[in-house]
Amino acid sequence: MKHVDDYRDGDLARSLARLIADTVLPGRSYAFMEFCGGHTHAISRYGVEDLLPASIRLIHGPGCPVCVLPVGRLAAAIDLARMQPVTLCVYGDLMRVPTARGQSLLTAKADGADVRMVYSPLDAARVAEQNPARETVFFAIGFETTAPATAQTILYAARKGLGNFSVICNHVLTPPAIDAIMATSTDGGPPGLDGFLGPAHVATVTGITPFQSVAARHSKPVVIAGFEPLDVLQAILMLTHQINDGRAVVENQYRRAVTASGNRLAQEATAKVFALRERFDWRGLGVVANGALRLNENYDRFDAEKRFALSTPTMSDNPACACADVLRGARKPAECRLFGTVCTPETPIGSCMVSSEGACAAHWTYGRFRDPADRPRLEPAGAA
């Protein structure tokens, strides 16, 4: 595993840290949002902040598919599995996400609902093939990264003529999420935000082109960054240079996998099966226009929302849970009043504490020793 250690090398990290320290301008402060949960996780796990000068601040972004899933959609799936004779296939990360009624997929499973953990959408299609007399529903989540696998599975189901397989599609898109973040305040996003560490795996699929218009629209630099800690440091250095030079363009730190145009086959599968969803209510970001995917008309026989006439209840989070603010970069996890007291990974209140990519989980697992004993615990904006 030599190559992995190369991206975590302490000596290289220290020299990059020195370069960053030499690059920041005296008296200038910098704030960068790491878009992805994968970045957040690496930053916490390797202690990247310890290598940064005090003038650079990192802000967690919304790039955690489980965290941005509105609980109402999960609740609808749980109800489906409870009420109807269906097998519901999900990614393991979702099992413990609490809904407002205190239910989770795990409790539904314990009560007898047929909920199964799968590693890929194709596993779910196989469940359908093996149980032809029973409906199998796959609960699809993820950004542009995982949408192609869902699309390919639907194409597979179409080829095989699987009449008992369908998908609840919750795939969401990255550029509209960045737009939504920039619209959260009148000064354009979280206070002082200077630029983005862009999503590496998404860009592997989409290429960097879609991010060029994002950077231009908001006049903020975007550096597509890998998920190893040295990737993160290098991307921070690149962003710092752009700020100092007054540039706001897309740069690609993750050259080992990301190209300008991305993975054409994956893009084609996605385009073939999906259409833009006019409105999708993101957790944290609210309703985002054209910010998610649904099955298009050619494949709507695989659309579980239509097949089972699912309606998504509007369901609000626990009012004390600050996830929405955390996902917008407006609050840090430790500023939630429930963090570490009521809400821990064993007793999660919000999905940001459940998902392995969630900012609250990362801070709890790796970073909570940094909190001052008298840390401020702010009420979430909009809470009573």
């Binding site: 202690g47 990247v48 020793f369």
Partner: protein, 346 residues
């Protein structure tokens, strides 16, 4: 000794419900499989209990159940694990193992041949440690109600008079010593279980640690605050437990923690952290820093401690955090895992 006219067909036969009924079949099973494998007079006397004189003023006692899946894995099997695991729990209290009991819950249909392999491996492990399996029990459950065989062992050991080890004795400034590389048992079992096409050559570190602990006590007895074997939950769970018991924190250094490159590679691929993975032949010792260099030297002289290293210190911390300096140059917490990372690892 009772003599049966017909022996068990160990090569081809299988456990059925009668072998757990307490009658003739149960006794025959004991005679043909357990007595020869465990080979001692106290057991062969065939009584419901073993009677022995107490060899020491203080005795240690410990019990553990073993449900590992699969039953056989590179570097060991459930039998060796059941004996060594209990010996290690005794050894962590500074005891030398003397007597063990072994209780079996066996699934109907389990092959005698496998049971004999397991029993022989238990006998060999006990003999190697100078201990005897002197009493036991066998129950059989219907097919599907157990997974092959579950074993519970209980051990009794003698504690030397000068030894005083306990989980609440760590104090700020103490040195944390780890006896060798992390994660080998858990990774070996994972590989055996999942039939992964990689990781060949990684074997469980399953071993009895009482000799190593005896040599440690000989060198630094009164300076050792406590010892513990980082089994389920790995080093992370062990240090967090001690932090709670002793009401302290830890500061450890990732660069000092030994992990074999092959183990690190498999952990990376499986998304595991070696700090959370189970070990079955390693120990953590918390010691007075003055005694640490001599102790490490003594540990390295023993084959089971040759990679021993000082990995950190005990610090004052009212939050009881285990902090780690990463190789990358940052800091983070090493936390318990929420939930089970690898079920049925021992």
């Amino acid at each position: 000794m009772i003599v049966f006219d017909r022996k068990l067909d160990v090569a081809r036969g299988r456990i059925d419900l009668s072998h757990g009924a307490g009658g003739r079949a149960t006794t025959r099973l004991a005679h043909d499989i357990f007595y020869p494998a465990f080979a001692n007079d106290l057991l062969a006397a065939g009584n419901d209990q073993a009677v022995f004189a107490s060899p020491a003023a203080r005795l240690a006692m410990s019990t553990d159940s073993y449900v590992v899946s699969p039953l056989f894995f590179p570097g060991g099997d459930i039998g060796a694990l059941a004996v060594n695991g209990t010996i290690n729990d005794l050894a962590m209290g500074g005891a030398q193992p003397l007597y063990l009991s072994a209780s079996f819950i066996i699934e109907e249909g389990f092959p005698f041949a496998d049971l004999r392999l397991i029993a022989e491996s238990m006998g060999a492990a006990a003999r190697a440690a100078g201990a005897m399996i002197v009493t036991g029990d066998t129950k059989v459950v219907e097919r599907g109600k157990a997974d092959g065989v579950f074993i519970t062992t209980t051990g009794v050991g003698a504690v030397a008079p000068e030894v005083e080890l306990s989980g609440e004795r760590a104090r700020p400034g103490d040195c944390v010593i780890l006896s060798g590389g992390l994660g080998e048992h858990g990774v070996a079992v994972m590989i055996a279980r999942q039939n992964l096409g990689f990781g060949a050559g990684i074997a469980s570190d399953c071993a009895a640690l009482h000799e190593l602990t005896a040599s440690m006590i000989a060198v630094a007895g009164p300076s050792i605050r406590l010892m513990r074997d980082p089994t389920r939950g790995g080093l992370a769970a062990t240090l967090n437990e001690i932090a709670q018991q002793s009401q302290v924190g830890f500061k450890i250094s990732e660069a000092e923690i030994p992990v074999k490159p092959a183990v690190a590679a498999v952990c990376e691929l499986l998304g595991l952290d070696p700090l959370n993975v189970a070990n079955e032949g390693k120990l953590v010792a918390i010691v007075d820093p003055v005694a640490a260099p001599a102790l490490i030297e003594a540990m390295r002289a023993h084959p089971l401690g040759q990679d021993a290293a000082a990995i950190g210190t005990v610090i004052e911390d009212r939050h009881r955090y285990v902090q780690m300096e990463t190789k990358f140059g940052g800091r983070r917490i090493v936390d318990w895992l929420s939930g089970e990372q690898l079920p049925r690892i021992c």
